[in-house]
Every structure is written in C-alpha cells, then in structure tokens.
C-alpha cells in the first residue's frame, strides 16, 4: 500500500494546477495534449472556482484529443496538428501542457514544439501527474517555464514583480491591494503581476523588476530558480499577521535597496495603522474564544497574535470562532478576520 494513500487526495492533478496558470494569460492559447476527458475534468474544477471568484473569462483551450489510436500509434502528429490550429489564431503565446498519457506512450512533445514554425512563441511544460507531481507542481512548472521565456533585463529600481498569484484564488485582488499598500509605504511599485491575468507584453517585462515577491511558499522552489535566473532577490510569501507585515516591510525594503530611514518610517507608520485598526475592536477585549480547526498551517498563529493584541482569551468554553480558510494577508486580512469574529461574538 502506498505510504501516502490518505495524503494523496490533497495533492491534486498536475494538469489542473498547470492549466490554472496557463489558461488565464490574455492573448495566449493553452494547448493540452491529452484525451478530451482530462481537459473536461480539469476545466470543470476551474470553471467552478472561476464562478466563485466572479471571473467570467472563458479561456482559449485547445485539446489534441488523444484516443486509443494515438495511444497505440503515438500522438505526436495530433499534437502537431493542434499546434497548427493554435498558431493559425496568431496568439501572443501558446502554452502546451500534457496529461499523463503522452508521457506514458513516449510522445516527444518537446521536439514537436521546438520544430514547429511557431516555436518561438511556444512554451512547453510537461505536466504528466503520474510521474509524482501535484497541482502545486503543475502551477509552478508553468510559472517557471513562462519565466524562462522572458528575457533577462536590467532591473528598474523601485519596481517589484509579484509571482504566483492564483488566477482563481478568492480575494486575490484584495490581497494584491494590501500588498501594494504596504509596498507603497516603501516607495515601491508593482510592475508585473505574474501571472495574474498577465499578458505577453507584461510577461516580457518580468526581468525588469528589481525584486520578486512570491504569493506563497508553495512556489518556493520555482521562485528560487526564477530569482537565480534573473539575479534578483526573492521574498518567499505575502505577509500574514500583524507582526508579519512589519517583517515583510523590512525584508522588501532591504531587498529593493530602500534606505534604512525609509524602512523604519514605513514600519512605524504601519505599526500606528495597526494600532488604530485594533482600536476598532477594543470591545472584544476580555472575550473568551475557542478557535476552530486550522485549514492551512499558519492561520492559528495569525489568530493568536490578534487575540493577544486585543487582550482576548482562548478557552474551550469561549465563543466558537472560525478561522479564515486562507491565510489572512496583511493588516487588512487580520481586520477582516476580526470583523467576522465580532459578528460571531455579537450575534452568535
């Protein structure tokens, strides 16, 4: 019996992860070398997530539609024909991803892509999940392949690229706004959101950013390699929790070469801002709460910091409050969490 028989269900399909990035690039076409069913299954999930995120874009996805015939005789011609169809649309980019089947039968997809007349605009990402990948690996593989496509350029001081924001993540734009607010305190500006609806022209600007900030540590390995390729510092995740914001300000400031006085001023401003935010919840002081299950590691730590700062108590007899499903980002994330708690305490 495999050791990870229970954990495996959390890993997800590599193709799904890959498509969650590949099919949300404006101006690009995603080509999936797979049986139709793999794409349908994947897109059903993506479609449900898109609905939840009020995202109504219908991505351009072409599937090579491998069947029994291609399994037996090879699917390379089918991929080539699908690339022809994609290229006829003259997209800015073609991102080719694969299901498990091509790797099983030994299709040499890399060669087919590299020999195609449109090869300069084709990014091939092998994403056969049975080789041990997860959805996270699929996301990261596409991120890294796209980053490799962007040229290395001279960094523009004061600019930042965000890497790995999920297109289908709920609250992606609120989280972005919070990170942008914090960076603005340091005089930094976000020039590339890679790949949050990042078109080809924006992607080509990736190398101009002076610093890369990863959405979360799921992309840590890919982010490290991307940072090495461009010779840029990499911050491993968006800030969580109150103290996490302050740490983030220092790390981002130092990574971007911001002078110490400006970093210290930004931290002081944010500390004061957090203080005034917490004052709005002063009526929670002394309230006993019981934290529910932690959906993602780190959420409870953020919550406990807020409990301590508001002089609340943790008790099994306290109000049962729910932790946010995703890690709260920045001061705004904590504030939103506290609104939810207060509503629970006041209204049950």
């Amino acid at each position: 019996m495999p050791e990870n028989i229970y954990e495996a269900r959390m890993a997800g399909c590599t193709l799904t992860g890959a498509l969650s990035v590949a099919c949300f690039i404006p101006g690009a076409v995603a080509v999936v070398h797979a049986p139709q069913g793999c794409v349908h299954q994947t897109f059903s999930i993506l479609h449900a997530m898109a609905n939840e995120s009020d995202l109504w874009t219908v991505p351009e996805i072409l599937v090579s539609d491998i069947s029994d015939r291609e399994v037996i005789f090879g699917g390379e011609e089918r991929l080539s024909a699908t690339l022809d169809t994609a290229a006829a649309k003259k997209p800015d980019l073609i991102v080719v991803v694969t299901s498990c089947v091509p790797e099983t039968i030994g299709d040499d997809c890399g060669v087919i892509c590299s020999r195609h007349p449109y090869a300069d605009r084709i990014v091939y990402v092998p994403t056969s999940g049975f080789l041990g990948g997860s959805a996270k690996d699929g996301e990261n593989a596409v991120l890294e392949a796209l980053a490799t496509h962007a040229p290395v350029r001279e960094p523009v001081p004061g600019t930042v690229a965000l890497i790995g924001e999920k297109n289908l993540e709920s609250e992606a734009d609120q989280n972005y706004a919070e990170v942008e607010r914090l960076l603005n305190r340091l005089g930094l500006r976000v020039t590339v959101r890679f790949c949050r609806n990042c078109d080809y022209a924006t992607l080509m600007q990736l190398g101009t950013a002076a610093c890369f900030i990863l959405r979360d540590d799921r992309a840590a390995d890919a982010g490290k390699r991307i940072g090495e390729r461009f010779g840029r510092p990499v911050i491993s995740e968006f800030p969580h929790g109150l103290s996490g914001c302050l740490t983030f300000l220092r790390a981002a400031g130092e990574a971007c070469g911001v002078v110490e006085e400006r970093i210290a001023a930004a931290i002081a401003e944010e500390t004061a801002y957090q203080g005034s935010m917490l004052e709005k919840f002063a009526n929670l002081s002394g309230t006993a709460v019981f934290l529910g299950a932690e959906p993602f590691t780190g959420t409870a730590e953020v919550a406990r910091e807020a409990i301590a700062r508001l002089d609340m108590q943790e008790s099994t007899d306290g109000f049962s409050i729910r932790l946010p499903f995703y890690l709260p980002i920045g001061t705004a994330g904590v504030e939103k969490m506290l609104y939810l708690w207060r509503r629970t305490v006041n209204n049950g």
């Binding site: 029994d68 015939r69 291609e70 399994v71 037996i72 005789f73 090879g74 699917g75 390379e76 099983t104 039968i105 030994g106 299709d107």
Partner: protein, 268 residues
C-alpha cells in the same frame, strides 16, 4: 477449441515454428487460426506465400464498417491468418495495440475453430503482450528457446508472467512445455531439457537446425508446404501431435538469475 500461445526471445524462431505448427495442424483437418501479436506483423507471411496482410490495427481506426473478412485472410491449408500490427518502432504503445486487437476480434466473434495459435512478441514486455495469456484466451503457453543464455533468460521471464497470471481466479493459462529451436550448440538439447525440468515442465520438442527452413523461407512458404517429405517437416508434424495430445499443463517456477547462469555454465 485449443488456444496455444508461443512466447520466446525475439529472433528465436517463434514465427517459423508457429507457421509450421499451424500448417501441420491444418494437415490434420483441423480448423486453424494463427494470430501474429507483434508490430513487425510477419508471423503469417509464410502461410500467406510472402504476402503482408493488412493488419487489424492499421484498419480498425480507418474503417468504421470493419468486419472479420477485412482482418482475417486465408493462407496455406485454409489457416485463417490475422496480424495485430502496431506502431512503428520508437513511438506509441504496442502493448495497448495487442489489447485493442483482442477486444476487436472478440467483438467480431472471430476467435473460433479447432486451434488458435498466438505468436507473441519476444518477451512479455508489458501487460499488453500478456493479453494472450489473460482473460481465458490462450490456455497453454509453449516457450520457444535455444540453449543460448539470453534466450533462456527470456523464457524464464515468461515463466514469471505465467506464474503471476495463474494466481488470478479467472486465469486458465498454464505452461504446456518448452520447445528447443536449436542453434546447433553443444549439449543444447540436454541444457534446454534440464531448464524445462527445473521450471517444472518438459521439453516437448527438439527442432534441429536444418537448411530446409531457410529454403522454405526464401520461397515464401512453410517447410510443411515447401518440403513436405523432409525430415524437418516431420519434426513440425511431431510437435503438432505432441501438443494436441498434451494434457500436462503446469504452473512454472521461474529460476533465480544465479541458478540460470549456473545452469548455462554447466552445459558449456
């Protein structure tokens, strides 16, 4: 209906043995079918007088109205010949091709007659090539080998597959015996007989190396047809009679590699 599969290392002479065996069965007034399970699709060529018959796989995706007549061709002695076919070397999945062929033949109800002979690619390289041994197709497997170590090694591997498949409740596949297709080595008959004994089976036929085989092949015929009076033709007839009479079907016990190598050294 007897369903017989011949397995062995590539180039050992499975197709020659299969075709002559089918021809010998046909001389006994049996209704015989031979199915080549190798992408090389040359199993039945001598029965078809050198003709490369259209394969099942090259037709099944081109034609929706495919019938048994399109994939079954009558050769020498009325032997019904089928070639599974498969992909070119280096691409696709030949094993899946064998499975698809069997599924189609089953759907067409094409597997009938007194004897069906399956001639299967060199080694059991994946589950697809084990298909003739599965699902109640071939009930008896004959290993074709010479005294060369690598040939015995391949035969030994097939024993592992038979032993594994025989554990399934639906499996009826057993080892019928070992056929030695001689390479004119010293002590070859004794070596192969001892190998057969150690895996728990018997040497059912020793086929000597004979120019009659080459002569028949260049004339695009089986030995049975080209030189019916030759001693070699008699050997194949003998093999056919032995197989028909054989009721001694066993689950083999594959040798460890050390033991196999030691055995080969003993008979050098």
């Amino acid at each position: 209906m007897r369903q017989i599969a011949l397995y062995g290392k590539g180039g050992i002479g499975k197709s020659t043995t299969s075709a002559n065996l089918s021809a010998a069965f046909s001389e006994m007034d049996l209704d015989v079918m031979q199915i080549g399970c190798d992408p090389k699709h040359d199993s039945t060529r001598m029965l078809m007088h050198g003709r490369w018959i259209p394969t099942v796989l090259e037709q099944m995706y081109e034609r929706k109205d495919l019938t048994a007549e399109d994939v079954i061709f009558t050769g020498f002695g009325g032997v019904r010949c089928v070639e599974a076919g498969g992909p070119e070397p280096g691409i696709g999945c030949a094993g899946r091709g064998i499975i698809a062929t069997f599924q189609l033949l089953e759907k067409m109800k094409a597997l009938y007659g007194n004897v069906v002979v399956y001639d299967v690619l060199g080694d059991v390289v994946c589950g697809g090539f084990a298909m003739p041994m599965r699902d109640g197709y071939a009930q008896e497997v004959y290993l074709v080998t010479s005294g060369e170590l690598m040939s015995l090694y391949a035969a030994n591997n097939i024993c592992k597959a038979i032993a594994r498949l025989s554990q399934r409740s639906t499996a009826r596949c057993r080892l019928g015996g070992v056929i030695c297709n001689s390479k004119n080595m010293d002590n070859e008959r004794e070596l192969v007989a001892e190998f057969a004994h150690r895996i728990g089976s018997n040497l059912v036929q020793f086929i000597p190396r004979d120019k009659a085989v080459q002569a028949a092949e260049v004339n695009q015929m089986t030995v049975i047809e080209h030189a019916p009076q030759s001693p070699q033709a008699e050997v194949y007839r003998e093999l056919a009679k032995t197989i028909l009479a054989n009721e001694d079907l066993r689950i083999p016990k594959a040798l460890e590699l050390d033991e196999l190598e030691h055995l080969a050294r003993e008979y050098l």
